[in-house]
């Protein structure tokens, strides 16, 4: 839950509307994220959550829920 809130907060800092995002929200189709914004999101998550993101794996994630799960699995603790 803590990871989900932190990821959602990061999206909010990047000017997404958190109230419009749920676990099934599709990153590309629903949020219209392109490759540049995906890079911005990945870097922001690395900086705020202290994770190291594999760009190839991150690019394959489809939904917000999958992003949260990936970040949770990538956290050092």
């Amino acid at each position: 839950m803590e990871v989900r809130e932190a990821v959602l907060s990061t999206f909010g800092n990047l000017e997404f509307e958190p109230e419009e995002i749920n676990d099934d929200t599709r990153i590309r189709e629903d949020l219209a994220v392109d490759s540049t914004e995906l890079a911005e999101i990945a870097i922001a998550l690395e900086k705020t959550l202290g994770v190291v993101i594999d760009d190839g794996k991150f690019a394959q994630l489809e939904t917000f829920g999958e992003v949260v799960a990936y970040i949770a699995s990538a956290r050092p603790d």
Partner: protein, 441 residues
């Protein structure tokens, strides 16, 4: 020839939002130039500018757009929106103009340095991970063009012109030629500029055209053609026009504001210091050819909106060029420049002048040159000073020029009062400056 008409105007300037605020500011003869407060300009020679403070991007645009783009793009997309709305133009859909028959032409000088400076500072101080991935696309001068196309669903020709302070005039000329050649029915053409960031301002300082003399009294700083002229005061803003073929405008029932009847461009780059010719001969040719293309003679011309940079050598060359182009008319045709009331908008300057020219024709008024108290010695044109002057007029000559000798002149006319003439190739003939070309030459 296809007539090119103007059907919409959008403007965000130091005078406020919309072209009406621009017109009223210009009529007032009072300057909106102020001490810069967007950054600490205390160590610069020129510390005054026109600031488009009425525009707050977050009032108009979503955060996800703002984070990707510089303020010069924010200004441009909203001014283009205004122009489209003013023209009552629909793009796409059942009753709208086909998207691939609509173009966009933009003039800009500096690019998006406000965004770029912040990111480059982070690059050197903190490293590559701190740089926005939008840095590359936010900075470059074609960013407004692309974003206008995306926002308005435009699929036709799109170009950006970087020709110093004549950039906006080049954009308008290319738009007119695109329409005239049948390559588009409509072109949204104009310019945008946001020079208020430390490095952009330094570039302008080293360009040596800003006045260092007006910091104590900002409103009196910009003094075109005045004997105390000491250089330009620039400003931020964006102005866009909807240009279209007369046939297209009529077919969709658009209100026609006026006609872009003539234009010409040439160059007179001159060394040393990348300046322009001091005698104004080449500039005078651009003035003459723009009138020739409009099919008018000097006696048809109602007034002139000069560039009026207030750089002494540029003012002098422009006066000489006007004298050469207007001949006997030089002492009786009213000359103004509106820029002293809000700052030279660089890429947006000529589009703003066209918007003002349309008002001048519509109201029969020539606004005064703000701060022109005593014309410099030898500047014996009929400058409009102190107060607006009533003057019925059908044709206004707009002069634009930039560093390195780019000259671009436009003739704005009352709709239906001019027949565009075929352009003559440079050097093909001598132009008869005193004779109307009406009736076909």
């Amino acid at each position: 020839m296809t007539r090119v008409v103007i059907t919409g105007i959008g403007a965000i300037t130091p005078a406020g939002m919309g072209e009406e605020s621009l017109w009223h500011r210009v009529l007032s003869g009072r300057s909106a130039v102020r001490t810069i407060d967007r950054f600490d300009a205390g160590s610069y020679r020129c510390q005054v500018a026109g600031q488009a403070d009425a525009f707050t991007a977050s009032d108009w645009l979503p955060g996800r757009f703002i984070k990707r783009t510089d303020r010069f793009t924010h200004l441009a997309v909203i001014a283009a929106d205004q122009a489209k709305s003013d023209a009552d133009l629909e793009i796409g859909g059942a009753g709208g103009t086909q998207p691939d028959r609509v173009g966009v032409m933009v003039g800009n000088v500096l690019g998006g340095w406000g965004f770029a400076e912040r990111e480059l500072r982070d690059l050197w101080a903190k490293g590559i991970r701190e740089v926005s991935p939008y840095q590359a696309t936010a900075w470059f001068p074609a960013a407004p063009q692309g974003n206008i196309c995306i926002r308005l669903g435009i699929k036709g020709r799109a170009r950006t012109f970087v020709c110093d302070r004549a950039s906006g005039a080049y954009a308008i000329i290319h738009a007119a030629e695109t329409i005239e050649r049948g390559l588009a029915d409509v072109v949204i053409a104009g310019g945008t500029e946001q020079p208020l960031s430390p490095y952009a301002w330094l570039c302008c300082q080293t360009g040596a055209f800003l006045t260092p003399a007006g910091n104590a009294d900002p409103q009196a700083a910009y003094r075109p053609f005045d004997r105390a002229h000491g250089g330009t005061v620039i400003g931020e803003g964006s102005v866009f026009l909807v240009l279209e073929s007369e046939a297209h405008a009529r077919a969709r029932g658009a209100e026609i504001l006026g006609q872009l009847s003539g234009w010409a461009q040439n160059t007179d780059g001159y060394m040393p210091y990348y300046t322009s010719e001091p005698h104004g001969n080449t500039m005078s040719v651009a003035m003459k050819r723009s009138m020739q293309r409009a099919g008018i003679g000097v006696h048809d011309l109602g007034s002139v909106i000069a560039d009026g940079s207030a750089v002494p050598r540029e003012d002098a060359a422009e006066v000489l060029a006007l004298k050469a182009a207007l001949g006997d008319g030089a002492r009786r045709i009213p000359v103004t420049t509106a820029k002293a009331a809000y700052g030279h908008l660089m890429g947006s300057a000529a589009p703003a002048d066209v918007a003002i020219a349309l008002r001048m024709i519509r109201h029969g008024i020539v606004p005064p040159v703000a701060n022109l108290d005593h014309p410099a010695p030898g500047f014996d044109l009929d400058f409009v000073r102190a107060a607006p002057r009533e003057a019925e007029q059908a044709h206004v000559l707009v002069v634009a020029r930039g560093l390195g000798g780019v000259n671009a002149c436009l003739v704005v006319s009352r709709h239906g009062s001019a027949e565009n003439a075929e352009p003559e190739p440079p050097g093909s003939s001598h132009w008869n400056g005193g004779t109307s070309a009406h009736g076909g030459t």
